[in-house]
């Protein structure tokens, strides 16, 4: 068989596997509320939120080669938008709050991105870090507007126009909000998959490889990077709204640089080179942290140690590890079926 058709077949095979795996995962997550404890379910909600944030972050990091150390800024903007809209403006609908959060993030991301995308590597990282810290100080210092370090409360929202105020907090989170967030994750994943596979995604990968060369081909490198930055900010805001609606609070720590660091940690843990890596990373991080916190008061130390081990021994993250394992399995299977 000629080489191109075998790779074509392999690609089709891989795609089928990916679709099958995705459907299976969604089915498991959809059935989970029937079996899992409410505690586990309330833990999965932030996983959903972070999964969305990391999909956005990885459009910058994995696809475009720009590592932001201030991405928590946009989660905080989403959260505070939710607080202002539900608390001050009396908006009840989560859909409107999500749109408001996205709009706020886009408005902030355009000037921040405009300045930041002119730089790459550590300079981009430091600039985004500074903007994140700037917003954090604003949240802390202007307590008349933002509630200072106590933050602002976020009122119960309606989902698709349904008034769910009769449900208890746990019922709300483990039932309607859980499914709402699951659908959001699915939609965000499919949309990001389209974006990454599109010519736009291709340009981002090309400029990551070599920005100058991309310009030789007529690519407006800065404009493409800015678009990626704004998109990732919008994803961050959706995550921020979800986190705030879950906790009922918009907290200034959401904007603190350690939160940005955690986002990067999750991405590295899951594997930034892989599309699903960030999703894996969000899940692994949340449950790992919960488990370690239950075991020892030195959980931060343990997390740091794990990050060191991941970077040294599995630089491609958990998703990379899984990809290697499936390749090995498939090769063994191929050998056996050929005999």
């Amino acid at each position: 068989m000629p080489a191109p058709s075998t790779t074509e077949a392999a690609r089709r095979n891989r795609n089928l596997c990916a679709i099958g795996g995705g459907v299976l995962l969604v089915a498991v997550l959809a059935l989970l509320p029937g079996v899992a404890s409410p505690y586990t379910l309330t833990m999965i909600l932030p996983v959903f939120a972070y999964a969305i944030a990391l999909l956005g972050l990885n459009l910058l990091f994995g696809t475009s080669g720009l590592l932001s150390f201030g991405h928590a800024l946009f989660l905080a903007i989403g959260a505070y938008a939710a607080a202002v809209m539900t608390g001050h403006w009396g908006v009840k609908s989560l859909e409107l709050v999500l749109l408001g959060g996205i709009a706020a993030a886009v408005v902030v991301a355009i000037p921040v991105g405009f300045l930041s995308v002119r730089y790459t590597r550590i300079f981009f990282g430091m600039l985004t870090l500074s903007f994140g810290m700037l917003f954090h100080s604003f949240l802390i210092k202007f307590y008349n507007v933002t509630g200072g370090d106590t933050g602002m409360s976020v009122k119960r929202v309606r989902l698709l126009g349904l008034d769910l105020s009769h449900l208890s907090r746990v019922e709300f989170q483990t039932g309607p909000l859980y499914y709402y967030a699951l659908v959001l994750v699915i939609a965000a994943t499919l949309l990001m998959w389209r974006i990454v596979q599109s010519p736009f995604g291709l340009h981002l990968r090309a400029q990551r490889d070599n920005a100058r060369k991309a310009e030789y081909l007529g690519v407006r490198v800065h404009a493409f990077r800015l678009a990626a930055f704004v998109l990732s900010a919008a994803y961050g805001a959706v995550a921020g709204v979800l986190l705030a609606v879950r906790s009922g609070n918009a907290d200034p720590e959401l904007a603190y640089w350690t939160h940005s660091g955690e986002l990067v940690f999750m991405t590295v843990l899951g594997g930034f080179a892989s599309f699903v890596g960030p999703l894996v990373g969000a899940f692994a991080f949340i449950f790992l942290r919960d488990w370690l916190m239950g075991m020892t008061e030195f959980w931060r130390l343990a997390m740091g140690g794990i990050l060191v081990l991941v970077v040294i021994f599995v630089p491609r993250g958990l998703a990379g590890l899984a990809a290697d394992a499936t390749t090995r399995l498939r090769n063994q299977f191929d050998l056996r079926s050929r005999r």
Partner: protein, 239 residues
Amino acid sequence: MLEIRALDVDIDGSRILSRVDIDVTQGEFVCLIGRNGAGKSTTFRTIMGQRKPVGGCVAFKGQELAGLSTFQIARLGIGFSPEESEVFADLTVAENIEMPTWVAGNRSTRSAAERIGMAYQMFPKLEGYRSRGGGQLSGGERKMLSIARALVLDPELLLLDEPFEGLSPVVIPQISEGLAAIRKGGRAILIAESQFHHVPDFTDRLYVIERGEIVFQGTVAQAERDAATMQILRGTDGA
């Protein structure tokens, strides 16, 4: 079509190009030849807007290029294949080639499929490698891919920096044939070359550059009759 007049370029305070004049007219194949460090790549980078000249000017089809950014110059119709590792390793051959067709604002009248087909036609070898990653190609294949990709911009002028450098003698004729075919299609080509024996026999004109200055211009036959020029050119072969 391309007019370079009295171009002076400084890098870190030292003069790299000094009063360089180069003309390329439509459909012409022009070769800029000189030793390593003579200023060939600097000339190309200045045309592409990456170096700001301190004096002189570069114009393309009568339009002054000063103040335009690189991507704008590319969209005017100048396809540049640089000397360094030429392909996006992360993209497949097909994606590398298609890339310029997705750029908005290209002034080409040909359809994307037409432009892509044209590129494969010039370098048929690439056809078999469509789904291969850019990083898996040999040096010669990379050069072909880089030239093919520049061609997909449907440029009126191609700038090729050392298209034959580091290639095996078997591959050089393949590239050379591709260039001949491109020229037949009516495009102008300016190549930089550091070795005289690589200069294709269909070259229309030759510019010899030495320490940032053009020291000779004329046909290959004229160069061969000029003793001083031949001394420099023989020097390039020896190097």
